[in-house]
């Protein structure tokens, strides 16, 4: 978790602005969402959150089960024999320059045919055995739930991950009639309803992905129930990315124009961090993600909460003013589904479904922004642990959090004001978030206050 020591902007009026509505309206929050923060804390307290040797799920465990015998059984033994043996051999057979005698030649051995055959065949046999286990392992990693339990669509974008949950069970992105074809993600082909006009000079790529209005779209964090294998259907909206939560499974690329499948499963609730591992351009280093595994009940509560529309603040409040700012500045890229902010409807006469909110230009869906533990491609913590010694700043009593957490307001303000400063962006080219230098302090206050209500 990123720690911000300087936090001069936090004062009592802000506390009122931000926390009051949260306290008033969001008792249900605690049930699902803030469990997550406790888990986030525990993940942060671990030394090596990405360690491949500490699997926390059956898939990662099965990979490690193949890795260990290869590493210790073959690699280490051969290393000892060849490397240590070779150095020892060289040392043993050395002749000092002063002892050099041109007539004292070693036996002129030209080879040992049987031996050479042996050390050609023996490794081949050993490797054939390894190969068999490898192939079994490869196919094991491809198995999916039959029948499907929970499928999530994963879309890589520069530089964050989008997740789609098929809430209404209409199989919007997973084929309902079971012929294995994925559908519902449009615009991948030249003929898809994605809005490409066939002009090769059109740089409107990435194509827009039409989201089922009844479904849930989140960003950065994949929330899953613990103990359940979650099958992922992955693609990319721009360049190739790679999805990797090391403690849950190996990695798999998300390739534009193709679908790849992968799955993750966590043994127990917790936060498991990951990192995009295919070089994806400018801010590749800041394209991170995590999987948050919840107990079945918590997951259900979270899932239901995600389906609810966002609250519309009362008119006249600072939050309402923030929502106006959002409408003016943010909505050309972001989406908040609160039943009222309908926008980007495709024009009448367009063959594509109308009244479908598009995720314009591929920015995250912020409907339940405040329920996430991180933002900006999972690089900043959304809530942060405050200094436990500083009682005056303790917000845990308001929020009933498992630790001393509060809204990471300072970081969020900096992010909104000048995102490219925190995360390199080619925003002229629709890669990464725009800076908003024109935002006044008050507008920022209101906007951040509004975002805090989105739980």
């Amino acid at each position: 978790m990123t720690n911000n020591t300087a936090d001069s902007t936090w004062h009592s009026s802000m506390r009122q602005t931000i926390l009051t509505p949260m306290i008033a309206s969001r008792r249900s929050l605690r049930i699902a969402v803030f469990v997550v923060f406790g888990l986030a804390l525990s993940a942060c307290s671990e030394d090596k959150p990405l360690n491949t040797f500490e699997p926390r799920g059956p898939r990662a465990q099965s990979v490690l089960d193949i890795m260990w015998p290869v590493i210790w059984g073959i690699i280490f033994v051969v290393f000892l024999i060849v490397c240590v043996g070779g150095v020892a051999l060289a040392w043993k057979n050395r002749v000092k320059p002063e002892d050099f005698d041109p007539d004292d030649l070693p036996e002129q051995v030209h080879g040992w045919f049987k031996g050479e055959i042996a050390w050609t065949v023996a490794p081949a046999i050993i490797l054939a055995f390894v190969g068999v286990y490898t192939i079994i392992g490869i196919w094991d990693l491809e198995t999916k739930n039959e029948p499907a339990e929970l499928d999530v669509m994963v879309i890589g974008r520069q530089w964050w991950w989008e997740y789609r949950y098929d809430v209404d069970g209409d199989g919007f992105f997973v084929d309902a009639d079971g012929d294995g074809e994925i559908w519902g993600v449009d615009g991948l082909g030249a003929d898809g309803p994605g809005g490409i006009d066939g002009d090769s000079d059109d740089i409107e790529w990435p194509l827009e992905y039409i989201l089922d209005p009844d479904d849930v779209s989140t960003a950065g964090e994949l929330v899953i129930p613990a103990g359940v294998q979650v099958d992922l259907y992955m693609t990319s909206a721009d360049v190739i990315h790679s999805y990797w939560i090391p403690r849950l499974n190996g990695k798999r690329d998300a390739v534009p124009g193709r679908y790849t499948t992968w799955s993750v499963e966590a043994d127990a609730p917790g936060k498991y961090t990951g990192w995009c591992t295919e070089f994806c351009g400018l801010s590749h280093a800041r394209m991170r993600m995590s999987a948050i595994a919840l107990s079945a009940d918590d997951y259900q509560a979270w899932f239901e909460n995600q389906q609810a529309p966002a609250a519309v603040p009362a008119e006249g409040t600072p939050e309402f003013a923030g929502r106006e700012t959002f409408k003016n500045l943010c909505m050309s890229c972001h989406i908040i589904k609160d039943g009222d902010l309908e926008y980007n409807d495709t024009e009448a006469g367009d063959p594509w479904p109308t009244s479908v909110p598009l995720i314009a230009k591929g920015a995250p869906d912020l409907t339940h922004f405040a329920t996430r533990t991180s933002f900006a491609g999972a690089i900043y913590a959304q809530y942060r642990d405050i200094n436990p010694d500083d009682d005056a700043l303790d917000v845990s009593t308001y929020l009933d959090l498992p630790g001393n957490y509060r809204w990471n307001e300072a970081e969020l303000r900096r992010w909104i004001k000048n995102a490219p400063d925190r995360k390199d962006a080619n925003y002229e080219n629709q890669q990464g978030m725009l800076p908003f230098p024109q935002l006044q302090e008050e507008e920022l206050d209101n906007l951040v206050a509004y975002l805090a209500t989105l739980d």
């Binding site: 090596k48 959150p49 990405l50 360690n51 040797f53 990662a60 990979v63 490690l64 890795m67 290869v70 590493i71 690699i75 290393f79 060849v82 490397c83 043996g85 150095v87 051999l89 057979n93 050395r94 002749v95 320059p97 041109p102 070693p106 002129q108 030209h110 080879g111 031996g115 050390w119 050609t120 490794p123 490797l127 390894v130 490898t134 491809e142 991948l188 030249a190 090769s200 740089i203 790529w205 360049v239 190739i240 790679s242 190996g250 990695k251 798999r252 690329d253 534009p256 193709r258 679908y259 591992t277 070089f279 994806c280 351009g281 400018l282 590749h284 280093a285 800041r286 390199d424 080619n426």
Partner: protein
């Protein structure tokens, strides 16, 4: 031996007039200094120039490497921005692969192949010069990107669609693309030349299975170049059409499949890694027998394992794509194939150990570097086995574990072999030995620096640190080993620099001592390049050696006495050729190779910036081609007299 340069034989009775041709088409004569180097067609000078150019590019690639390590020394470092980091790491990889390791291999091959097969030059001397100049032109064009809008930022692998104009709008990737396209011309023409040379110009009696292992490994390397580089060229032409002429080969929105690039790139890219390592394998296969005073253990196994590596190298490319979603059938097949490429590689390692087994080893610097290759390459090869296991590769690929792996192979392997080769052949090339005292420092600093840099990267990778990352966070557990690796990198940098420092001081000492003759055979070596004087005379061999054995030269020095005891019957100096080149006919230098080569980057800049620029480029290219074709086969004023020896075997 300039058979190719000979005029065709005329029917009897027909006479030729030898009137002087037009001035510009005459060959340069009595060139000295810079002009000599620019117009030379001597394979030795061209080899030296390949080496010097590689050293120049090594400095660029090395500075890039140190920048990367400095940036990663501490978390959240802001020395390099994300943009700058991407450009620097892209150039580090590209420069090191294409402009350092490949040309060093070419340098050794150019210098040594004719010498080791007992020839006076390569088959096509002018094409040889052209190959070098066109490589240099491509390399320089690529590096001008630093000043002309920014270096490429797509990685050396340059995956689609991130390499498209939409995602990388600056000209960097155009420079990458065009520069390597141009350098690739040099690789292919050089390969054709050297293959022809080895197959057609061996000294009398030198059958294929009497060729030194280095010749064999270089021959396999040239075949790999010949078949692999054109695949990259195809990919790059497609990319050029995409980027510069609005084609849609990699445009996903027009239905393209971005994995096409990956397949093409790695069909080239995997043979590429073998063509980088095989010359170094050849070098240590010369060094280890010499300093063990034994013949290479299992010559035929060494040869065939090299050939097997060459063949298998074309069948394993998709192991770079295990997580690309190519499907379990493909992954299984390539996983299996990849494992078996470890077999011929293992044979080589064990045979080197077999050569040292029971030998009497002289542990000088060249030998130390050779042993360094054997040990460090083995570590790299073993970590390679761990990601041939595809499920395990899903955790390892694109992490620092891979970075560790290929640096153990290419730096700890190939580069150590090259430095060993420099120490070994330096006296043959320049006439003096590199200092041993400095050499030991050189070796040990490089070993310590190298392992301190890349050893910890195994740990970092398995702890989950991805590659190509501009920075990382404080709480990820990467801090310690990154700092260690950075310290190691600076030790390694200084250690590598000691090669040049040693060359400088050894030369000064040699000069101060009045340039003593190092003798033709300073190491009691085995192959025929040591039976000529050092430095190599311009004409190589006074008379071409008649070869009756593998290790021909050694067999001329050692024989069994009446008691069937093997002993030395002559020193190398006693049986070496005196270096008298009288009557030897050598190909004349030429202006045209360099002119033709440097017409191509003009066209390259034209493709990048403005097509108008291609017009002068094409004009120069046409003129140079005609000049090349119309140039007299030889300088007509110099009489051809005696090259009967050269013509006897064809």
């Amino acid at each position: 031996m300039a058979i190719i340069e000979e005029p065709l034989a005329l029917p009897p009775g027909v006479t030729t007039s030898t009137s002087k041709p037009l001035g510009v088409f005459s060959r340069p004569r009595n060139a000295t200094g810079l002009k000599d180097w620019l117009t030379t067609v001597d394979h030795k000078k061209i080899g030296i120039m390949y080496g010097a150019a590689a050293m120049f590019f090594l400095v660029i690639g090395g500075v890039a490497a140190l920048l990367i390590r400095t940036q990663l020394a501490v978390p959240n470092n802001e020395l390099l921005s994300g943009d700058a980091y991407n450009r620097v790491y892209t150039m580090h990889g590209t420069v090191m692969v294409f402009l350092v390791v490949m040309p060093i291999g070419a340098a050794f091959a150019n210098y040594l192949l004719p010498l080791q097969i007992g020839a006076r030059d390569v088959a096509f001397p002018r094409i040889n010069a052209f190959s070098f100049w066109v490589f240099l032109a491509g390399g320089l064009l690529l590096n001008t990107s630093w000043f002309l809008g920014g270096a490429p930022d797509g990685g050396w692998f340059n995956y689609a669609p991130n390499n498209g104009v939409i995602y990388s709008p600056s000209h960097g990737i155009d420079f990458w693309n065009v520069g390597l396209l141009i350098a690739g011309i040099g690789s292919v023409s050089g390969a054709v030349n050297l293959i022809t040379t080895v197959l057609n110009m061996r000294a009398p009696g030198m059958t294929l299975f009497r060729m030194p292992i280095f010749v064999w490994m270089s021959l396999v390397t040239q075949f790999l170049l010949l078949f692999a580089v054109p695949v990259l060229t195809v990919a790059q032409v497609l990319l050029m059409l995409d980027r510069n002429f609005s084609a849609n080969f990699f445009n996903v929105s027009q239905g393209a499949d971005p994995l096409l690039w990956q397949h093409l790139f790695w069909v080239f890219g995997h043979p590429e890694v073998y063509l980088m390592i095989l010359p170094a394998f050849g070098i240590v296969s010369e060094i280890i027998p010499t300093f063990s005073r034994k013949p290479i253990f299992g010559y035929s196994f060494m040869v065939f394992s090299g050939i097997a590596i060459g063949f298998l190298g074309f069948g394993v490319w998709a192991h770079h794509m295990f997580v690309s979603g190519i499907g379990p059938v493909s992954v299984s097949a390539f996983s299996f194939a990849t494992m078996f490429i470890a077999v011929p590689t293992g044979v080589k390692i064990l045979n080197w150990l077999g050569t040292m087994w029971g030998g009497k080893l002289t542990l000088n610097t060249a030998m130390l570097f050779a042993i360094g290759l054997v040990v460090q390459f083995t570590i790299g090869g073993l970590s390679g086995v761990s990601h041939a296991v595809a499920p395990s590769d899903t955790q390892q690929t694109d992490t620092y574990y891979i970075v560790a792996h290929f640096h153990y192979v290419l730096f700890g392997g190939a580069f150590f072999g090259f430095v060993g080769g420099l120490y070994f052949w330096w006296p043959k090339i320049f006439g003096y030995k590199l200092g041993e005292k400095f050499g030991k420092w050189n070796f040990w600093m490089m070993v310590v620096g190298f392992n301190t840099t890349f050893g910890p990267m195994h740990i970092l990778g398995l702890q989950g640190m991805p590659r190509r990352m501009q920075t990382y966070d404080d709480d990820m557990g990467f801090n310690l080993w990154n700092m260690v690796a950075t310290i190691g990198a600076f030790i390694l940098g200084v250690g590598t620099l000691l090669v040049l420092v040693n060359a400088f001081f050894s030369y000064r000492k040699w000069k101060a001592d009045g340039r003593p003759d190092v003798g033709p055979d300073p190491w009691d070596a085995r192959s025929v390049e040591w039976m000529i004087q050092s430095p190599t005379p311009e004409h190589n061999f006074d008379t071409l050696p008649i070869v009756t054995d593998l290790d021909e030269f050694w067999h001329r020095k050692y024989a069994e006495d009446e008691n069937h005891k093997l002993r030395r019957i002559a020193t190398g100096a006693e049986i070496a050729q005196p270096g008298n080149g009288e009557g030897v006919h050598l190909p004349a230098p030429s202006y045209w190779p360099i002119l033709l080569a440097f017409s191509i980057p003009i066209i390259g800049y034209g493709v990048i910036f403005s097509l108008w620029l291609t017009i002068p480029g094409v004009l120069l290219m046409t003129a140079a081609s005609f000049g090349w074709a119309l140039e007299p086969a030889d300088d007509l004023d110099i009489p051809h007299d005696d090259h009967t020896e050269a013509l006897t075997h064809g």
